[in-house]
Symmetry: C2
């Protein structure tokens, strides 16, 4: 028999939907998370780290997003522990912790946590099955001051990591207002839960589908570009109108504010007030920013006042809706007093947040600067963080309602934004490479690297096969080394070392002819004792 059944080799592959992070991908993320942790810590939040693994029972078996039934968790059964799963977010483990340690934790309990979560979703471009989340939550406070605090902290955090004011906006809404709209539209009651779910998710897609797309999803349904049909909520025309009045509130508010501006044109006292409004508007539209105007701290309240009165009209007749408007007003006041302006945090009725479990304020942070999408079209960078109040989540475990509110930052998206803005992504600092000319004098080379390191300089000895010196320089190039150290027996006898300035060398190589390059003007000889000082000079230290 032929010997063709040799053992099959395992494939060296990251599992589908997972990825490896190298070098600066790791350090830049860690640096950003450390900055975020500093802000959170200063706000009184304490770190918490739960394990990657939870019981399926504690976690809840599926993601709360009911319209994507294919999504799920990575779960498996253990003989001694039953069904276990990888956490799919940081909120479910927090609910477990809040219940498990309820007698020991301070109340309210402010905590932050950073780490990977896992989703058993179909992977796609930019869609991974393991990604980082960075969450901050306050458990045990029913006050909207807790929600306002998280929104303020979110704005501070974005500025701390390097997103300039004007490049982001934190938008705030309240689920009770939404519930009020549902009530007015005749969609209250347990039997209408499915419809409400469809409505929520339709509103959440406003950005992507536009008003007509949302309108279709509220009615019969919608066929997308690929021809796939999404079933609608089958609301009546009147119901659709009520919901759309709400959905298009931001636009209506702007129209109304401009109307007031004209009407009040004569009255001198009104003039200043509406100038503020117009200023807020122009900021909102970017025109003011483009003219280099600075913000007016009061303008958020002015704009919010318009929005709130408009919302109060829509939900008239619904106690819950009016309570939501009141909560939004209180948040607006607290944030206004805190000095947050309309270009930082603003009330925006189009914010829904997909997750079913939110019960009060909801908020999200959007980056407003433009990037080019895959097709080369300009578009806003979009959402990088979101959250809200979820007063019912801990109740699953204890039977007692525990009010809670919190935000989750999409770490990878925020990193991508910082890269886009040029805040990170500069070249990695490579080590100085001590090359090996004589295998027998390895101890001398190690001593050189050791001296450089003692001076705080990143350095290493070439540890590959030293026979081919060209390979050593290629290696230095691949490592983006700023300098290579060379000492053959001749140099050793004379008590000197050669230092190749690879930064300068690269510049010469980029601009000069091969002949010039060969003359190697970027290489100098110095006494061995001057090694560290000379390398320092090359590094510009």
């Amino acid at each position: 028999m032929a010997k063709d059944n040799k053992p099959r080799r395992p494939k060296a592959e990251t599992p589908k939907g997972f990825r490896d992070y190298f070098g600066t991908d790791v350090t830049e993320r860690n640096a950003m998370l450390a900055t975020i942790a500093e802000v959170y810590h200063r706000y009184g939040f304490d770190p918490l780290e739960t394990p990657a693994v939870e019981t399926v029972e504690a976690l809840g078996k599926f993601l709360p997003d009911v319209d994507r039934p294919n999504e799920g968790v990575f779960a498996w059964q253990e003989e001694d522990s039953g069904w276990l799963a990888l956490r799919y977010d940081m909120t479910a483990p927090l609910a477990r912790v809040a219940a498990q340690y309820r007698n020991d934790l301070p109340s309210p309990y402010r905590r932050f946590t950073m780490g990977p979560v896992w989703r058993n979703e179909k992977p796609g471009p930019g869609r991974y099955r393991q990604f980082y989340q960075c969450d901050a939550d306050t458990v045990g406070s029913a006050s909207v001051a807790a929600d306002a605090e998280i929104c303020a902290m979110l704005a501070d955090t974005l500025e701390a990591v390097g997103i300039a004011r004007g490049d982001y906006i934190v938008r705030v809404n309240n689920r009770k207002v939404l519930n009020g709209v549902m009530e007015v539209a005749g969609l209250a009651g347990d039997d209408k839960e499915a419809e409400r779910g469809i409505v929520l998710r339709a509103i959440d897609k406003l950005d992507r589908l536009g008003p007509e797309g949302v309108r279709a999803l509220l009615g019969k349904g919608r066929k997308d570009e690929s021809g796939d049909f999404t079933k609608g909520a089958e609301l009546s025309a009147e119901q659709v109108d009520i919901v759309m009045t709400f959905v298009e509130a931001p636009k209506s508010v702007l129209d109304r504010m401009e109307g007031y501006w004209t009407a009040a044109d004569q009255a001198e006292q009104g003039r200043q007030y509406f100038k503020d409004v117009a200023h807020a508007l122009s900021l909102e539209r970017g025109a003011g920013r483009a003219r280099g105007e600075s913000h007016t701290p009061g303008s958020a309240r002015v704009k919010n006042t318009f929005t709130l009165s408009y919302l109060a009209e829509i939900v008239r007749g619904s106690d819950q809706g009016l309570a939501g408007v009141e909560e939004l007003k209180e948040m607006s006041n607290l944030l206004g007093s805190g000095g947050y302006a309309a270009d930082q945090i603003v009330i925006d009725p189009s914010v829904v947040r997909g997750l079913g479990y939110y019960t009060g304020p909801v908020y999200e942070a959007e980056l407003t600067f433009e990037i080019l999408d895959e097709k080369g079209n300009k578009r806003q960078f979009g959402s990088v963080a979101g959250g809200g109040r979820y007063d019912d989540l801990v109740e699953r475990f204890t039977g007692q309602k525990v009010p809670a509110t919190g935000v989750s930052i999409g770490v990878d998206r925020l990193l991508a934004a910082l890269r886009e803005k040029g805040r990170i992504g500069t070249a990695a600092e490579g080590p100085v490479i001590v090359t090996v000319m004589d295998r027998d004098r390895m101890a001398d080379y190690l001593a050189m690297a050791s001296e450089l390191r003692a001076a705080g300089i990143r350095a290493e000895v070439y540890l590959g096969n030293p026979k081919n010196f060209g390979n050593q320089l290629k290696y230095a190039d691949k490592r983006a080394s700023p300098a290579a150290i060379i000492q053959g027996s001749d140099e050793a006898a004379r008590g000197v070392v050669q230092i190749k300035d690879l930064i300068l060398g690269a510049k010469i190589a980029a601009s000069a002819s091969v002949e010039e390059w060969k003359s190697q003007p970027a290489q100098i000889e110095v006494p061995r004792a001057d090694l560290v000082a000379q390398v320092r000079r090359i590094l510009g230290q």
Copy 2:
């Protein structure tokens, strides 16, 4: 029918063998890992982060420790991806990465990685199913300079995180020497693999079982205290003697050195040489350290010379064994030239390292200071890191041998050691608490916290139900707050705030009577404008 089937509530429990980390547990670990990363980075190592999940195929299905068949991995089957598993160490994913990116990575590739690994083991006291590892490896270098570098870096790392010189020792051995001993004892050959495995694991247990226990495992087997019987390697008496000569080498070397000392007593020139030896010995035994003597950089080489000549005798006749002795000698020279002394890094034949895949140098770091065990007995803290050369691991994927060597630090053990040494574990810095006297003036309280934070002071507003003021102070106590800020409507009208110095308050409470406590001398009233300055004074800033 009775309505007794209400939905069962999920248990709020961390899964068996897993744990939650709170507050300083998280920050202290992160700080230690950041210090380690700094050392590794300076040595030219680059960060790498692989996903928690790997294909079972890439990972290898089971841990290489074959004597614990109950140990394993957490694995599950996915429809689209086949069998997936949580990584059980950092070496298997590195082998996968080295194979997968072999055309893109520099060679040699120095990388470090830090993160959790998962073991599907029976949990026990101090034994968790998720724990942190921190690894550094050099892939693609066959030179023992790479091994020496890792040992040097390990010593530097321990000192950098706060383990003082003299409180640790890095012990080095070489598998080839061990294989030489096996050869001499007639245990070479593929058919003796099982016996060799038992011998390796028996030697590895020398610390715990003593020479008699090891001897039993080499022979018929051993019954432990619980009555459980472990089957032995069933070696002949002669074979057992050969292996034991090796196992007891450190003791024999010391005896022999003392013998030389006496013999050389007359010769004046020999005197200084053997004084060095005696000094190394006394350091080894702690006596020198107890007398406050400092190290002698040369002594490691002196002691290593004795050890190496002894080992060369044992493996005489085995080429592989002698090659191992040569490698050890080269490492000893490189480390000696690097200035590492016998109280930092030393050759020690009793180091085996359990894992089967090591092929050359093996090393481990032990902390030598004493702690009290559960029974109140003194014992050495023990091992915190270990590693070695594994030239065959990448070959699984590519068919090509890729030499590699690396170390893994047990993060939790090292943290425990730092705690033991008082390097970490000081009280957490609690936030200043702004209490809430008037619910209506929440904006004022938020402004106070915001001012404090802007001055770099950790601060928060009490966000629980403010009705019971006592609860607010209890909360401040639980948070270990240094100060509480109080402003009722009266104080607000007068433009002042009350500041309660909780650090001073705690001191008074600990030493004074209740009456004195009630007079609250630790509470002062200052103008509202002086809030930040006064809190700074209390914090000693």
